[in-house]
Every structure is written in C-alpha cells, then in structure tokens.
C-alpha cells in the first residue's frame, strides 16, 4: 500500500514548560514534493523537523512518516529519511570519504559497496578533488555539500534539510539548490526544506508552509498563497506603451495618459484599476488577462514596449503575514 502523503502531521504540539514551540500543527506532504518550511527564527521549524525524525517526542498529536511513527518505530523512519541538520559536523580528523563510508556502513552497506557509493556521491556533489582531504580542512560550503552526500548515501525516500544554505555564498547556494531540485526530480525524492530565506524557497519549492510562532499560518504553492493573500487584486500587469509606430519609440509612454489607456483597453473584463507610475501603467486585474491586454494595445496601433505580469513574491507574502501575525498578538 502506497500512502499518498509521505509525511503526515496531525495536531502536532510541542511544549517546553509553559512555552509552546509548535502548536496544533496539521500538515501533509505528498510523495515527490519539494516542500518549504518558511518562517523566522524561533518559529518552530527545527522542532517540527526533530519531531518528524523522532529526535524529540511530541507533547501531543501524531507524526507519520511513510506510515511509521518516529517515536515507536525509529529505525523504519530513520532508514527512509535523510536528515541534514543545521550546521552539520563531521569527524574532523577523518577524510570526507571515510566519513561517508562510515555513514554508509551504519546503513547496512558493506565496506566495498559503501566506498563505491561514497565516491560516486562525492563526484555528484562536486567534491571529487577533496576525497582524501580531512574534513577539518573543508570550507563551510564543502561541508554542506558533504552533508548532502551523507544524506544521500542511505538512498532516502525523504530528505529533510534544516537551513541548508546558512553560511554559504550566493553561488554556492545556487548550486546547492540546483542539486536538490535535480535530485528530487530525477529520483523522486521528497524534500522538506526549512529556511528563513524567501527567495531560496521561492526558487525551489513546489509548496510552502508559512510558520510563525509555532503555527502554520498558510500553506500552498506560491500562486495560491498570493491569491489567498491579495484576493482583492491578485494580479498586477505592468506595461509600457509608446504612441504611434516603432520609429518614435525613443520617447516611450510619451503622450499617452490614463484616459487614453482606459480607452485603449475598452471595457475589458477583469480590469479593476489603472495607475500610471513612472511612465508605466499598472493595471490591477481580478484574474490573468495579460494576453487580452496585449491584444488590445496592439489593436489600437500603439507600440507595446514592455509587458510583465507582476507576481507577488514570497517577500510580499512574508511581510504581509508577519504584519498580520504581529497584529494578533
């Protein structure tokens, strides 16, 4: 029987004394998904991850990973889920290869097999030149990549990454994220990814869960989140139009006023408001009518210089939620 949801959290709560770190969390993550846990520091992301892995026990509620309970069947869960902790560490006086082979052998691989696999993975994560270097001499980014190899050597069904990009330079982050996406797509691995960085999450995640103060405020893909949040005007289309033909486009937007623009669009359905900011028009619409707008502009004979559908990024979502979150308290 294949469970559709590989991770299922039901009414999960964790209390430390009077402090509630995770509060009545309900979350389901499907197989093969890349799920982003997004939230500021201390929002309960790490605690949730620890409970998923059985490294700490929930105060109440239940966790099911591949249908197993991490507290009572830890081995079943741990053999399927790879965990890359925040700020991962290795045996510093051993080489990267030795460290990987050790992990491989803890996962019931023979020495030979573990070594083959480890070498293969070291190439995969781009550490083929550091195989025999002691991990004490690795840089932060190299350690993180070694950590990923360490997670992969057990051939997991789920990878759980806790703030994996912390302390790596932007290029390293990009490569790292690319690697994760590749892996997830090629091998169908489910990825649970916690971060406080919006852009990274936005780049890689299929779905996002927003965490504030131990509560899951919203979940869904980025489009649906922004739809939910900016329900009054979910789409903004930005365009730049020049009057007349292409030849006098040196002076874009010249002469076209909001009235002219309104006329140009006619009574196009879905247009909520038209604004002009810095020679560019911002058209707020109730649904996606980008192509209709473009057609109207071209039909009217004006030159279409620039057209973009402005999507609300996580940034906007993040701030709006945090404003909301703080407002409640």
């Amino acid at each position: 029987m294949v469970a559709e949801n590989i991770i299922e959290l039901t009414d999960l709560t964790k209390r430390y004394g009077s402090f509630t770190a995770v509060n009545q969390l309900n979350l389901a993550i499907g197989t093969g998904e890349i799920f982003g846990l997004l939230g500021p520091n201390g929002a309960g992301k790490s605690t949730t991850i620890l409970m998923i892995l059985g490294l700490t026990e929930p105060s109440s509620g239940s966790v099911k990973v591949c249908g197993y309970n991490p507290s009572s069947e830890p081995l079943e869960v741990k053999s399927r889920a790879g965990y890359l902790p925040e700020d991962v560490g290795f045996y510093l006086n051993r080489t990267g290869l030795d460290n990987l082979v050790f992990t491989g052998r803890l996962n019931m691989l023979s020495e030979k097999k573990a070594e083959e696999k480890a070498k293969e993975l070291l190439v995969r994560v781009g550490l083929e030149n550091e195989v025999d270097k002691k991990t004490g001499k690795y840089s932060r980014g190299m350690l993180q990549r070694l950590g990923l190899a360490d997670v992969l050597i057990k051939q997991p069904e789920i990878i759980i990454l806790d703030e994996p990009t912390l302390g790596i330079d932007p290029r390293g982050v990009r490569e790292f994220l690319k690697l994760i996406v590749e892996l997830s797509r090629e091998e169908g691995i489910t990825v649970l990814f916690s971060s406080h960085d919006l852009h990274q999450v936005q780049q890689v995640c299929d779905r996002v869960g927003l965490f504030v103060g131990g509560k899951l405020l919203a979940e869904g893909d980025i489009q649906s989140l922004s739809k939910k949040l900016f329900s009054n005007s979910p789409y903004t289309i930005e365009l730049e139009v020049s009057a007349g033909t292409r030849s006098d486009s040196d002076n874009p937007g010249n002469g076209i006023s909001i009235e002219q623009m309104n006329k140009m669009l006619g009574n196009l359905e879905g247009v909520l408001a038209v604004n002009k900011i810095n020679e560019r028009f911002q058209i707020e619409c109730s649904h996606d009518i980008t192509s209709a707008i473009a057609r109207k502009v071209i039909e009217s004979g004006a030159g279409l210089e620039y057209l973009t559908r402005k999507e609300y990024g996580l940034n906007d979502i993040y701030y709006r939620y945090f404003e909301g979150g703080e407002g409640h308290e």
């Binding site: 026990e57 889920a81 902790p85 700020d87 991962v88 290795f90 050790f102 019931m108 030979k112 057990k154």
Partner: protein, 365 residues
C-alpha cells in the same frame, strides 16, 4: 568476571545479529537492491564485502578513534612508564623482601606487584591511582564533544538505536583500557620471569588475572562516571573537571571527612570489645562508599594471600589460627562484596546516563 562474560555475550549476540541480517531486514534490503548473503556462504565472502552490524561499525570506529588520538598515546606512555618504574624497584628489592618463614614466601611472584622500597609506589598502588585518570580521560567528552561538533544529530538520524552510541562509546573505551591492562600485566609477568627466573604457579597466575580483571572493573566505574558527566554537561571542560573533582574528593577529602565524623564517636581504650568492633565497623562502612577503598581492599586481598579478613578481627577469632595463605577461592570470596559494590556503582552510573540520554532532545550543536 561476570562483567567480561556479559561483554562476551554481547559480542556474540552481535555476531548472531550480523548473521541474521539477511533474513531480518531482508525485504528492505531487496528494495534497496542490497546484496543479501546467506549466512552459510559467509566464509567465502571477502572481508570488504561483508555487511557488519551497525553497532560493530560504530565500535570499530570508536576504538580506532581512541587508538589514534594523542590523548591515548600520552596516557599509554604515562601508564607504561609508571608500570616499568615500579617493576624496576620491585626487581631491585625482591631479594630483601623475601624472608624465610614468611607465609607469603611461597607467593614469590606476586611480590612483583606489591613490593616497593618506599621511594616508588608499587604496581597496584599505581594502578589504583592512575585508573581513575584513565577512565575519566577516555570518557569525559564521549557525548558532548560529538554534540558540539554537530555530529550527534547526524549520527542519531541514521537507522541505529540511540543506545548504540552510548554502548559503543563505553565498550570501545573499555576494550582499549582492558587490552592495555592485560598487555601491561603480562609484560610485568614476562619481565619478572626473565629477571628472576622463577615461573609463577598456576594460582599466582590466576591471582594476577583476577587482579587485572578487577582493575578493568575499577576503571570501568570511572569511565562510566565520566560518560555520565559527558551526557549531563554540555561543555567537555565541565565534565572533565567534574570527573576530576569526584576523583580528588574521594582520594583526598573523603577519608578526612570520615575521620572527622568518626573521631568524636571513638570509644575510649577501656571500652568493651563490642564497642570497639562496632566503631571500626562504622568507620569501615563509611570508607567503603569510596570506590578507591573498595578497589584497594580487593587488590590487597588478591595479591597478598595472607590477608584473611578485611574487617576487624577479635582475639578469639584469631586464636588458634595458623598463619598461612588463603587459597584463591577463599580470597575471591572475601573480595566478592567489594567487587559487587564496584559493579553496582558502575551500573548505576550507566543507568543514569542511559535514562537521561534516551529521552533527551537532540538539537544540532
């Protein structure tokens, strides 16, 4: 003795587990396309193709960590140096130590371990002094240094039981120390054999072996105590210091405190025999809370066969006894409570660290 048997049994169980791997977790391994070797073919499999039980993998790693570390090299050199120092004094003084008519004359070889000329303590005194240091220094950073390096949460998210880590750390250090003591003990025997030319009798040999086992148990206690501290304290420095503090407390202050408590209760010289015995009993009972005392009582009895009681003896009890050595069985009977006490203390430390480690939350760093 029971202790080693328990260890052997554990290793045996581990072997069985290892052999059964194929059948127990077979479905998982098939899923992951692991090779499943039937145990009958095990002999033909090359060494690097064998699938070891994770516990054995961890144990091997811990042992090799110990053996490679500077700490261990330093400790071995200190212990070896003191051992050979005391052996030297023993060998130079052995001629004067043996007097005709002495009941211990027949246990000539054991004198190697107990003789000193006053400038240098004897071998067994050295062991009782250095044993705690060995135990503490091999265990004080067992858990917390892994946690501080961010390894703990990574290792514990592998498919192993949490207690494997604790057991592997303990067993690895114990094996290393045990081997060291056995080697040193046998080296002393060997050197003695070469120099004085008289082989030990079977009984002497058995006594020396029991002494070695006893010292391993003694070090195991200190090892467990320091592992307990390493589970409890986040900083290795704190746990090392706590271990040393306990050691100093027992070896320096505890005796003083016992004297302080018992002195006002001391009976006068005219007191009845019963009172004196009662007082001595109380003093000894208090002293026996100290692991050092238990160890030194036990080793004295084992290495000096003429010791026939560890408590006070009345004149009536002594009346009519023939001064002579006790057979090994009787000596072992005398030290049995001491050994049990040491084992109990060891197990107590282990249980406390076990309980607190099993339920704890493992955060990274």
């Amino acid at each position: 003795m029971i202790f080693t048997i328990a260890i052997l049994r554990e290793v045996k169980v581990m072997n069985n587990l290892n052999n059964n791997n194929g059948s127990v977790s077979g479905n998982r391994e098939q899923k992951k396309k692991f090779a499943v070797f039937p145990s009958t073919k095990a002999k033909r499999i090359r060494k690097d193709e064998r699938i070891l039980h994770p516990f054995r993998v961890m144990l091997r790693k811990e042992i090799s960590d110990h053996v490679r570390s500077w700490r261990f090299i330093i400790l071995v050199s200190i212990v070896a140096l003191t051992c050979f120092g005391s052996l030297y004094t023993a060998l130079t003084n052995i001629g004067t130590a043996i007097k005709p008519g002495n009941p211990e004359g027949s246990f000539f070889f054991l004198r190697l371990f107990t003789i000193s000329d006053g400038t240098m303590p004897s071998y067994f005194v050295f062991i009782s002094f250095l044993g705690p240091l060995l135990g503490i220094s091999l265990g004080f950073d067992a858990i917390n240094s892994d946690q501080n390096r961010g390894i703990l949460s990574r290792i514990l998210s592998q498919p192993i039981h949490r207690d494997y880590l604790l057991n592997a750390k303990f067993l690895a250090a114990l094996i290393v120390i045990g081997l060291m003591f056995i080697v040193l003990g046998f080296l002393v025997i060997g050197f003695g054999l070469i120099t004085i030319g008289i082989p030990p009798t079977a009984e002497e040999f058995m006594r020396i072996v029991s002494f070695i086992i006893l010292s391993i148990i003694y070090v195991a206690f200190w090892l467990n105590l320091s592992i307990l501290f390493s589970v409890q304290f986040r900083q290795p420095a704190t746990s090392a210091l706590s271990g040393i503090a306990v050691w100093l407390f027992f070896s320096v202050f505890y005796g003083m405190i016992v004297t302080l408590i018992t002195r006002p209760l001391a009976p006068s010289e005219l007191a009845s025999q019963q009172q004196i015995i009662g007082y001595e009993g109380l003093r000894l009972t208090l002293m026996r809370f100290m692991p050092n005392e238990l160890f030194s009582e036990a080793t004295t009895t084992l290495l000096m066969p003429s010791v026939r009681s560890l408590g006070p003896l009345t004149m009536e009890q002594l009346y009519g006894t023939i001064p002579g050595p006790l057979p090994l069985g009787q000596s072992l009977l005398i030290v049995w409570p001491q050994v049990t006490g040491l084992l109990a203390a060891t197990i107590l430390c282990f249980v406390i660290s076990y309980v607190s480690f099993m339920r704890r939350e493992i955060r990274s760093r």
